[in-house]
């Protein structure tokens, strides 16, 4: 296991700049989650580390050593691709054995069998081992693809939305398994997800990417509780943070143009009247769609609320975020 560091990495594809002067450190044994909307450069960043693409500028370090000029094999990284990329001419078992049989690892036969069985068990695909890789459901393919990485013990695991096509139950199971691997083996993970729960529960650090730049890096709680911008605040939180005119509820700091309110920053039962437009029971959460001064906002309320559409509820901001005209947070 090793630390991974990018220093000033820039990568362009024609006119698109996928990564811009990206510097980020993935500490040894950490679980770093990359957040960012589609096209932000997450996959590109993983490819820089893996060696599948070369930076136009800047340097990548693995375990403190610059890896410029090293092949992906020499970098000893494992990667779960966004699009699975299972070898279609091989069985599930052969797919998972493939990295172990490589000239890099040359694992003894007994060890291969043991390792594959163990990982297949964890991923709940033991019964599919003899299937052709093409004769699988999307979620099964994705787990085989994770398995192909987990049989190894690389410098870093790179995972590109590895749980995206799994059902909620499996996703929860695997979240715990991956987290265990990181916590027990001290493995280093660089992990891309769009899923808030994954980010909050698995990450030791979260990196927020915006158009190829790292805009914030910190623990998940820091990112959630202390976002540096509207953009960073919008990456986490369900329901999405409410962004409203700064003076909607009264006086605001001078430079502020927007106020940001997460559900827990909206106190109910005090303050000014708002109209309940809709009540959504999501099971674990009950969402209120409110209208306040011609602005819509969404917040969360008690699961057993008796509120109904048309009711009036008083609301008041509590420790809100203020943002300036550029979207940066005002402290």
């Amino acid at each position: 296991m090793a630390e991974v560091r990018l220093h000033g990495v820039t990568k362009s594809f024609g006119a698109t700049t996928a990564l811009q002067e990206m510097s980020i450190t993935v500490p040894d044994g950490s679980f770093v989650v990359l957040l960012g909307p589609t096209g932000a450069g997450k996959t590109t960043l993983l490819r820089m580390v893996s060696g599948l693409d070369k930076p136009d500028m800047g340097e990548v370090f693995i375990g403190g050593q610059p890896v410029r000029g090293l092949t992906p094999a020499q970098r000893n990284v494992a990667m779960v691709f966004q699009q699975y990329s299972l070898y279609p001419h091989l069985t599930v078992r052969e797919n998972m054995e493939f990295p172990l049989k490589s000239p890099l690892l040359r694992t003894p036969r007994a060890e291969i069998t043991r390792k594959v069985a163990e990982v297949a068990e964890v991923l709940q695909i033991s019964h599919k081992l003899e299937n052709k890789a093409t004769a699988l459901s999307g979620g099964e393919m994705q787990r085989v693809s994770i398995g192909r990485a987990l049989v190894r013990n690389p410098a870093v695991y790179l995972m590109d939305e590895p749980l995206s096509s799994l059902d909620a139950k499996l996703r929860a199971d695997l979240r715990i398994e991956l987290k265990n691997i990181q916590a027990n083996l001290g493995a280093t993970f660089l992990y891309v997800t769009h899923d808030q729960v994954e980010a909050m529960t698995m990450a030791t650090h979260v990196g927020v990417l915006d158009h190829g730049r790292l805009v914030q890096f910190g623990t998940p709680r820091e990112i959630y509780e202390n976002p540096v911008s509207i953009y960073a605040a919008g990456r986490l939180g369900q329901p999405h943070i409410n962004i409203l005119p700064a003076d909607l509820f009264g006086p605001a700091p001078p430079a502020a143009t927007k106020i940001g309110l997460r559900p827990e920053q909206i106190r109910q039962g005090e303050g000014q009247d708002s109209l309940v437009k809709r009540v959504e029971h999501l099971g674990d959460q009950t969402r209120l769609h409110l209208s306040f001064n011609h602005h819509d906002l969404i917040t969360v309320t008690d699961a057993h609320t008796t509120l109904q559409a048309g009711d009036i509820v008083k609301i008041q901001p509590q420790h809100p975020f203020y943002f300036d005209a550029t979207g940066a947070r005002i402290l």
């Binding site: 599948l52 092949t71 992906p72 691709f81 990329s85 279609p88 001419h89 493939f98 490589s102």
Partner: protein, 312 residues
């Protein structure tokens, strides 16, 4: 008027069936004719009107594989009774077998040259196609066009320069010379066909293999080749068919040791121009290897010819 693209009506199926069978019969007639002639006696072979029913004979095959000479009746009598069934056939024409014919050698030449050049064409073609498909090759499009342009005239149009060149290089009438020649002619086809197949294999598989600890060559060998098998098989068939059947260059550049079967077979007819069954027998046997090869790879060929349409 309405029709379904997915499920043809019964009437359409009948029409399609009749057309296909009709076409098959049409193309098979010469083949059947040749095979049948191989089992006729020389007089049956030239009978007019043609004999559809005849007593099969192995005369053609015996004549194909043997050299014979005519003896005077007293010499024949001195030899005593024929000992084998083929001696018997030959004796009925007052002849004796003096040794094997050249057919076996010529056939082997065809095998070595045909399969040798096919292997080389496909081997070099695969490597070149992979490079064109995966790497940034300077002037890629121009190079590809140039490679294709070698097929824009009939190869025989350059026969005289090649003839002179081969004479200077000592490649005339050698197996190596013919292998190189057929490889050169086939290479453009094989590069283009194979590039199409390799383009269709997503590059992600190789990337996965690189990550999994393999070098690029190992990834090519372990991941790309198995998936290109269909394309390689169908390309091999096309190359082999060309090299196997090529007549003009073979007639021009080979006369002795490296002569292939196509220019040899017509010479079997002999001085009297009567031995059609032997010619037909030679042609029939000549068909066998390529038929076996094609049937073995048939599954791939069908998929290969429709490539692009069925994959993925």
């Amino acid at each position: 008027m309405s029709f379904s693209i997915t499920e043809p009506s019964n009437r359409q199926k009948w029409i399609a069936g009749i057309l296909v069978i009709g076409y098959a019969i049409l193309t098979l007639i010469p083949l059947i004719w040749i095979i049948a002639t191989g089992f006729k006696t020389p007089s049956d072979a030239i009978a007019y009107p043609p004999k559809l029913l005849f007593t099969p004979s192995l005369e053609g095959y015996v004549n194909l594989f043997t050299s014979r000479t005519r003896l005077a009746p007293e010499d024949l009598a001195a030899l005593g009774d024929p000992t084998t069934w083929y001696d018997k056939i030959v004796r009925s024409y007052d002849m004796v077998i003096t040794g094997p014919s050249r057919y076996g050698e010529r056939f082997m030449n065809s095998v070595v040259i045909g399969f040798g050049s096919t292997f080389l064409s496909v081997f070099l073609g695969t490597i070149a196609a992979y490079a064109f498909s995966r790497f940034k090759v300077p002037l890629k499009d121009d190079l590809l066009f140039f490679i294709l342009s070698t097929r824009m005239m009939p190869p025989i149009a350059v026969a005289i320069p090649i003839f002179l060149m081969y004479r200077e290089l000592g490649l005339s009438d050698t197996r190596l010379g013919m292998i190189l020649l057929y490889t050169a002619v086939n290479l453009s086809l094989s590069v283009w066909l194979l590039k199409g197949f390799i383009d269709e294999i997503p590059v992600e598989y190789e990337e996965a293999a690189l990550i999994d600890g393999y070098t690029r060559f190992q990834a090519f060998y372990k991941v790309v080749l198995p998936q290109a098998a269909t394309g390689i098989a169908s390309t091999a068939i096309f190359c082999l068919i060309f090299a196997w059947n090529e007549y003009a260059f073979a007639a021009l550049l080979t006369s002795g040791t490296a002569q292939t079967a196509p220019p040899f077979i017509p010479t079997i007819i002999g001085a009297g121009g009567k031995d059609w069954p032997a010619v037909a027998a030679g042609a029939t046997l000549f068909l066998v290897p390529i038929m076996v090869f094609t049937i073995l790879l048939r599954k791939h060929l069908l998929r290969g010819i429709t490539f692009g349409a069925v994959r993925k």
